[in-house]
């Protein structure tokens, strides 16, 4: 599959590496040229030598998305550090470029929930953290006296 990842922070770069290792075609797009270095953390060869693609540009620029190969993408992942950016570019990927699978990272649980109901696949790390913390508290044993 061709996977396009916009936003190469900790999350985006880790997913990009994992998908490349699993044999997929991976293209990463980020505004910051320095984020290329993050892609190569722990790799024995360069990102490009391993078959990865990297484009510098913003997720809202049609030229950048097209240069990064959005027209061929089977999967689009929006993982920039801006919730609104992720939500908007995901809708562009869905509606303008007909990407079959589009996933947006949204930190705000309220926005993640509402857009999920509108048909956008969202992943909300904050929601995951809340659930895990609540479970951890419920499962705790306390001092044993009440």
């Amino acid at each position: 599959m061709f996977i396009l990842i916009v936003g190469c922070g900790r999350v985006g770069s880790s997913v990009a590496r994992a998908m490349l290792r699993e044999g997929h075609t991976v293209s990463a797009l980020d505004e910051d040229p320095e984020s290329h270095a993050r892609l190569e953390v722990g790799l024995e060869k360069s990102w490009e030598d391993l078959g990865g693609q990297f484009t510098v540009g913003a997720g809202l620029e049609a030229e950048a998305l097209e240069a990064a190969g959005i027209d061929q993408a089977d999967v689009f992942i929006a993982s920039t550090d801006g919730d609104n950016t992720n939500i908007i570019i995901s809708q562009i990927a869905q509606r303008r470029y007909d990407v079959p699978t589009v996933i947006a990272r949204v930190l705000d649980p309220l926005r993640a929930e509402w857009y999920a109901r509108q048909g956008l696949q969202t992943v909300c790390p904050t929601r995951v953290a809340i659930d895990m913390l609540e479970t951890a508290v419920r499962d705790s044993t306390g001092r044993g006296n009440g």
Binding site: D83, N84, R95, R111
Partner: protein, 227 residues
């Protein structure tokens, strides 16, 4: 009317002030603490602190009963999201969005966010009108109807000066609708002879501009004389 304005920059602040003077009820939302404090000294309870792309901030501002939401922050993604949520989640009747980068206009259109206003676009239009070297002035875009109206000034060397309108080979999908001559306008007939200094208006399908430029420009280089 109850109007929520998002973004207390120069545009938002002045807009909120004008709307208040016209006796509208206004809440201006600003997410920069320092800017909020400055604006609050003048607008007092009409300004609210918070990130308007957080749904609870919009709800606290009473978006459920708002008649209009105007998003004029400096960030196009924020403006798009706020307007989308206002219209689709809170069913606000009227939205207006500011486009900071004119290249993002296509995204506003794609998401159905309109009207959207771009200062850069407006200034470019003015520039085209004020700088006659551009030759052809874009007067109106009827986007829904897929038509444009343009104005052309005929120079001495224009290929159509002195010619009969009926003899012009107008490109398909274009039509001369009026001629302004010595301050007076009239609808040309086939027998009208075009003169130097005439300002002609044409209605056309989008994308026909270049063909018209060639026809109406100087016989030699295809541009239109500034007269």
């Amino acid at each position: 009317m109850y109007i929520i304005v998002v973004g207390a920059g120069k545009v938002g602040w002045n807009l909120a002030r004008e709307l208040l003077e016209k006796d509208h009820e206004v809440t201006l939302i600003e997410n920069d603490r320092r800017r909020y404090t400055t604006v609050e000294q003048e607008l007092e309870h009409n300004v609210s602190y918070g990130d308007a792309s957080e749904l609870w901030v919009l709800e606290r501002a009473g978006i459920q009963r708002a008649d209009m939401v105007i998003a004029v922050t400096g960030d196009d993604e924020d403006n798009m999201l706020i307007c989308q949520v206002a219209r689709e989640k809170y069913l606000v009747d009227q939205i207006i969005a500011r486009v900071n980068n004119p290249r993002n206009r296509q995204h506003f259109d794609l998401l159905g966010i309109k009207p959207s206003v771009s200062a850069t676009d407006l200034i470019l239009r003015l520039l085209e009108h004020e700088v006659p070297e551009y030759g052809l002035v874009h007067l109106l875009d009827l986007q829904e109807e897929q038509l444009e109206i343009i104005e052309m000034l005929l120079g001495k060397d224009s290929g159509v000066t002195g010619r009969r309108v009926g003899d012009l080979q107008m490109p398909e999908g274009s039509l001369l609708i009026s001629v302004l001559r010595s301050g007076k306008g009239f609808v040309p007939t086939a027998d009208t002879i075009l003169e130097e200094g005439d300002e002609v208006l044409a209605v056309l399908d989008p994308g026909k501009e270049d063909e018209l430029k060639v026809l109406f420009g100087p016989a030699g280089d295809g541009g239109i004389s500034s007269g």
